[in-house]
Amino acid sequence: MSTLTVLGAFPEASAQPLSAIEMDLVPIDLVTEWRRCGMIADFMADYMVPGFEQRETARSVLSTVMNELVENAAKFSADTRSPARASIRHHGEVVHLEVRNEATEKHVQSLRELLPVLAHDEATAVFRQRLQDRRGLGLALLARDYGATVGATVLPAGPDGRVTVCLRVVLSAAEVEQR
C-alpha cells in the first residue's frame, strides 16, 4: 500500500476555499512553447485578483509564484504527456498555490534535500548557499522574497514506477498584497 510522505512544511487548509481556480496542464505543451508557463500563471493570477483589494500587487505576486510552480512541473515531469494539475486557493488568511504532477526521481531527491532545510532554516541563508553552489534558486527565492511556506507530498511509485508530487506554496494573504 502506498504511503504519502510529507517534505518540508505542508500545512493543511480549511475545508472550503473562499475562491479557487484549478487547471489541468499537459507538460509537453509547455515544453514545446515555454511562454505558455507565463500565460497560465498570468491567467490564473488574473482570475484570482478580484478577491484582493491590492490587485496589481496581488497579480504580480500570484503570477510570479505560479510561474515558478508551472515551470517546475514542465521541467521535472517524468512523462511530459501525463497531465499535471495547477491550482490557486484563497482561504482568507492564507493562499495556497500548488502543482501536482508525476515527477522524476531526481526531482524528488532534490526536494527531499531542499524542503526540510527551507522549513527549518532562514530562507536567506538557504538562498545564499544555493547561489554559491549554483543550484536551483526558484523555491528558495519564493521563501525568501515572500515569506512563503514551501512543502510537498510525495506519493510513492505505483506499479508503473511513477511518483506523484504535490508541491505547495503557502502565502499569507497580507503578503500577497504586500501590506
Partner: protein, 218 residues
C-alpha cells in the same frame, strides 16, 4: 524497411513534429522551445521553420527540422558570410552560390524506441534531399548544421561530406549533448559537391526502401 517521407504541412503534422522533438530534447537534454524567444543559457531553443517527417507504417519515426533563415551557425556559432565565401572559393564555386543564402538542418530526433537503430544519421543524409532543403528557394541554398564529431562520422558513412567551418562555442543548452571528448562544430555542405545523388534526388513525398546503419542519432 520502408520509410515514408513527407514535409509537415498541416497544423496537426507540425504539432506532432514539435511534440516528438520537444519530448526527446526535454528528456535527454533538458531543453524547452519557444516560437518567439530563445535563451541558450536558460535552455530555451528557437523552433525550426519546417519539418521533414519519416514514417514507419503509421508511426512518426524520425523528424528533421530546417531553419530557412537565422541559422544556428550564424546566430550562435559566429560563422560569417565571408567564411562561407572562402569555402566556396576554395571549392572553385565562387559566384555559383550566394554565401548568405543558407538553410540549416536542425533538431533531428528519432522516436525513442528506435534510438541507436542507425536511423538518426541516415535521416540526416535523407534530409539533404533537394525536395526538402531547396523547397520554395529562389536559388539552391547552401546547407549548414552543427553536430558533435561522432555524429559527423556517422553521417559521413552515408556519403555526405560536411566541410568543417569552426568549433561551436560553449552554451549551457548543449551541456548534456557535447563533451570534451566529443566536441561540437559548425559544418557547411555544398549540395552539388557534398551530397550523393541518391539522397539529393530523393523523392519527397514518397516511400523508400532503406537500409539504415547502426549508430547514434541527433
Amino acid at each position: 524497411m520502408r520509410l515514408r517521407l513527407e514535409i509537415a504541412a498541416r497544423s496537426a503534422d507540425v504539432l506532432r513534429c514539435r511534440q516528438l522533438v520537444g519530448e526527446v530534447y526535454h528528456r535527454r537534454y533538458g531543453v524547452v522551445f519557444s516560437s518567439d524567444t530563445y535563451d541558450l543559457d536558460r535552455k530555451i531553443e528557437p523552433w525550426p521553420h519546417r519539418f521533414l517527417m519519416g514514417f514507419l507504417k503509421d508511426e512518426l519515426a524520425a523528424v528533421s527540422g530546417l531553419y530557412l533563415r537565422n541559422t544556428y551557425v550564424e546566430r550562435f556559432g559566429g560563422v560569417t558570410d565571408d567564411e562561407i565565401g572562402a569555402h566556396l572559393r576554395e571549392a572553385g564555386l565562387e559566384g555559383r552560390y550566394d554565401p548568405a543564402a543558407r538553410r540549416e538542418l536542425t533538431k533531428l530526433v528519432i522516436a525513442p524506441r528506435l534510438r541507436n537503430s542507425g536511423l538518426g544519421p541516415l535521416f540526416v543524409a535523407i534530409a539533404h534531399a533537394r525536395a526538402f532543403v531547396e523547397l520554395d528557394a529562389a536559388l539552391p541554398p547552401l546547407v549548414t548544421f552543427c553536430v558533435v564529431r561522432s555524429m559527423r562520422r556517422l553521417v559521413e558513412r552515408h556519403g555526405i561530406r560536411p566541410r568543417h567551418l569552426k568549433p561551436f562555442p560553449h552554451y549551457k543548452v548543449h551541456e548534456l549533448y557535447r563533451s570534451e571528448r566529443n566536441p561540437m562544430d559548425s559544418y557547411l555542405v555544398i549540395p552539388e559537391l557534398d551530397v550523393p545523388a541518391a539522397f539529393r534526388d530523393l523523392r519527397i513525398p514518397g516511400e523508400h526502401e532503406l537500409s539504415p546503419w547502426q549508430g547514434d542519432e541527433r
